[in-house]
Symmetry: C3
Subunit: 359 residues, 3 copies
């Protein structure tokens, strides 16, 4: 896990692409730009927080993130091509080095010094590639990318996937902070129907979460089968999750044979939500467990997860469409209940991130 140094040329005069009042996502935050294996020596263009971002790897494998907009005439650089470690614009051939310096203007002997492109610090940490798009002067003030320890734990097997969702990123965040939706949205897929009580609100400061304990409760088949016990077997479960940063939500289920102390099985899930803009997001999910880790069992896990998360996508896109179409302001209409505690808390935390950005 290594962070690239920022290009010196980008260190002054930073400004957010969109005023803070028009968004609910902080720029001064590490966001997941991509799964690391999405980024290759080919040029990949992706919008993140209203910013066009170009992602690629140098010949030594190091990942590079730079603005995906040529400073000359606004062509998307990903339409150009990689030349060694540099990127050549497909319009007039202006070429930029991984540190953002313009190294070639074909019609000039030497490129003007004023010509450079913004590059962004990245952190590669399996399975994510994180990017920082915010104010370079504030990078040390924000929490570094959160590590998924279990993602590199050899006793775990993991699966992951990306869904681009036409909804504000907080709608996914609130979705995974209120698991009472499982009994309805996922009644036919995950079939976990006992997440009905409002969980305990946990956390303090900039982290919030939930915790819910199940004692000798019938084990849903999605947990039972890979564990090798019959569905419905009485089992203890500790179910907890946290809003870590606006970029990442983590969740866990510890499965414990009643009467025993050791955890029999660990299930982990993380939801990285990266705003494309205020109306859409990249959703990167990662799930893993230390039981039922065979290839076939994990393929089954992946399949059911894709079905279930598509159900979430349908629902939150419908919510976003409703908010967009109804002329009335959403904030005047919504009524919260106790189960919304973690979600409401998450909104407040995000608001504090925004406040710090404009302070």
């Amino acid at each position: 896990m290594t962070a690239q140094p920022m290009s010196a040329v980008t260190a002054s005069g930073w400004q957010a692409p969109r005023p803070a009042a028009e968004r609910n996502y902080p720029m001064n935050c590490w966001w997941v730009a991509a799964f690391a294996d999405e980024v290759t020596q080919a040029l990949l263009g992706r919008w993140i927080c209203d910013t066009p971002v170009l992602l690629y790897r140098k010949e030594d494998g190091t990942a590079v993130a730079m603005e995906d907009r040529c400073p000359h005439r606004s062509a998307p650089l990903h339409l150009g091509c990689r030349r060694g470690d540099n990127v050549e614009c497909g319009y007039h051939g202006f070429t930029f080095a991984p540190d953002g310096a313009c190294v070639r203007v074909p019609s000039m002997k030497a490129p003007p010094a004023a010509l450079w492109i913004r590059t962004f610090p990245v952190v590669e940490d399996h399975p994510f590639l994180w990017v920082y798009l915010g104010d370079p002067a504030k990078i040390d003030d924000v929490p570094p990318p959160h590590r998924l320890e279990w993602a590199t734990d050899p006793s775990f097997a993991i699966e992951y996937g990306r869904i681009d969702i036409n909804a504000n990123y907080m709608l996914l965040k609130e979705n995974v902070l209120d698991l009472t939706h499982f009994g309805f949205v996922h009644a036919k897929s995950f079939k976990i129907t006992d997440w009905v009580d409002p969980p305990r609100l946990t956390g303090a400061g900039e982290v919030c979460g939930y915790h819910q304990s199940f004692s000798a409760s019938p084990l849903p088949s999605i947990f039972a089968e890979p564990l090798g016990v019959p569905p419905g077997t009485p089992y203890d479960r500790e179910n907890y999750g946290s809003f870590v940063t606006p970029a990442l939500q983590i969740g866990a289920v510890d499965l414990i044979e009643p009467g025993k102390k050791e955890v029999t099985g660990r299930f982990r899930i993380s939801h990285a939500t990266t705003p494309i803009d205020g109306r859409s997001m990249h959703y990167f999910w990662v799930g893993g467990r230390d039981y039922g880790t065979s290839r076939d069992e994990m393929a089954a896990f992946r399949a059911i997860t894709e079905i279930g998360f598509a159900e979430d996508e349908t629902m939150i896109e419908a919510v976003q469409a409703m908010q967009d179409r109804d002329p009335r302001p959403t904030e005047q209409l919504e009524k919260s209940v106790k189960a919304d505690g973690p979600g409401v808390q998450a909104r407040r935390i995000v608001q504090r991130w925004m406040d710090r950005e404009t302070a």
Copy 2:
């Protein structure tokens, strides 16, 4: 024809979803929400006057209209399911009774009293289901839904259909108030080419209309064939229609054998136009007659009507698209002639409905 009582919980603090200055359709008006037979025990979501409306029937067959937006987290309720007479939201299972009361929040022992959803009065009157979305305090001040007497007259046969049109609802209203368009828009379908003179402007107060008499005039085949006389036979015709409310326009043709006094055949048509928003409408047409009422003859009537009304749809969508795309304001460009009298009068009446709403 029975109106449901309004849910008490909705009786205070009413506000239009969109300010009156931004629309030309009154909220304090009964609108056709659907043909009654479109509404079943399945959940039907439909936008009416910028309002998401859920329509369904209780187990006793009574129709219910409620807001199609869960007050909890804005999910469209029609994505959920009916539980007996109640509706369960598909997101977190919040359940609402037909009177708007929240009767279940799965994560709570008892739902908070502050949780309720707006319901709307409905009137079922063949073939329409009418809904009132406006200020509950003003419902007694507006005219009740207009009855189509002939729609339930056993000597009549009727056909009806719905077209969703991408145009402001007044464009359809003006279309049917100026029948001189028949010779052009419908020259190849209805083939009624003698509606060329500007008709007499009729009506007073909140109703306006036209009346046109034809004496021993060649009968167009669309009237002649079901009447069993050769097309072109000299026949008297009384052709009249009215703007009844912003929601409904009615039209009639009485066919009279020259020299006789009794009406030989009665043709009736009604055009209910329900704004979806300012740029689109649900158009519910109903046509009937007391001659040529056999199944085959009515099927032929339906077929030609669908062709003709699709011609209107094409034309008024083109007009709306023109108004949307041309940067110049339409009201400064339009020039009216005598045949526009009823349409211009209808605009004034609608303006008075709007004025009353903001008074």
Copy 3:
């Protein structure tokens, strides 16, 4: 090349459809409306500079341009039909003569004198049909349509085509004023890779352009093949082009056998760009040469040109999409280099056209 007289009825009270501050295209300018052979006795509707324009030919073959919006109820006239030299609206049959006079309202004995439609002066000059949509009082102050002399020169063969591009028209203008893009956008199609030096900026006043001389330089195959010499043969080339008006850009390559004085081959190209609105344009290209003029050789020229210009289309649509999506204002981001001289000059000239319009 004959200009039609303007209809007297349009000579007063002219106003641009969109305020000058919201556009970068002058209304007081001759624009290419169509290739002359696109305009037939059928009705053709086309948006030009935010104006709906109807184009057709009278029975004597004369082209007519009139507003494509009926002054009665805003129907697009091209949905109606031609009646002799007149146009009948498809909605209510209002009929307009080629001079804009309303000659028939079907429901009236005589149409009101106040009913007329705007017509536009046109100039037909192979292969273009030009139109003037601006202030009638200013028509004599603007340069008349530029003639492509070579387009009617019998020693030349020409090809032409139209592409509708989703980009502001100036993006195409700047594209053809900076030929250094050939080495990148067209590296695989035109394969002219030696247009890399910034050319000399030419012109003065309202015309600007570039000029570039190649002396005994290897001839690219696109020039060599139709000339009948081996690709790579050392050859002199004079490469020059001009921004003539906001509507037209012309370019030329003179091919000269080294040591000789006469031009061996003349290649000519013109780029007429007509704004549809601020975000899209009709692009009319015409290319010709006085060598390699056989049918097969010109078909090959047309084929490669269509491939190459589709490459430009892709690139400038990507640039427009970038400008539209990025919340930051483009004018604050773009950095120019010497090769942008002609393009920057063209922007200034356009600005002067705009200034004159609002003076």
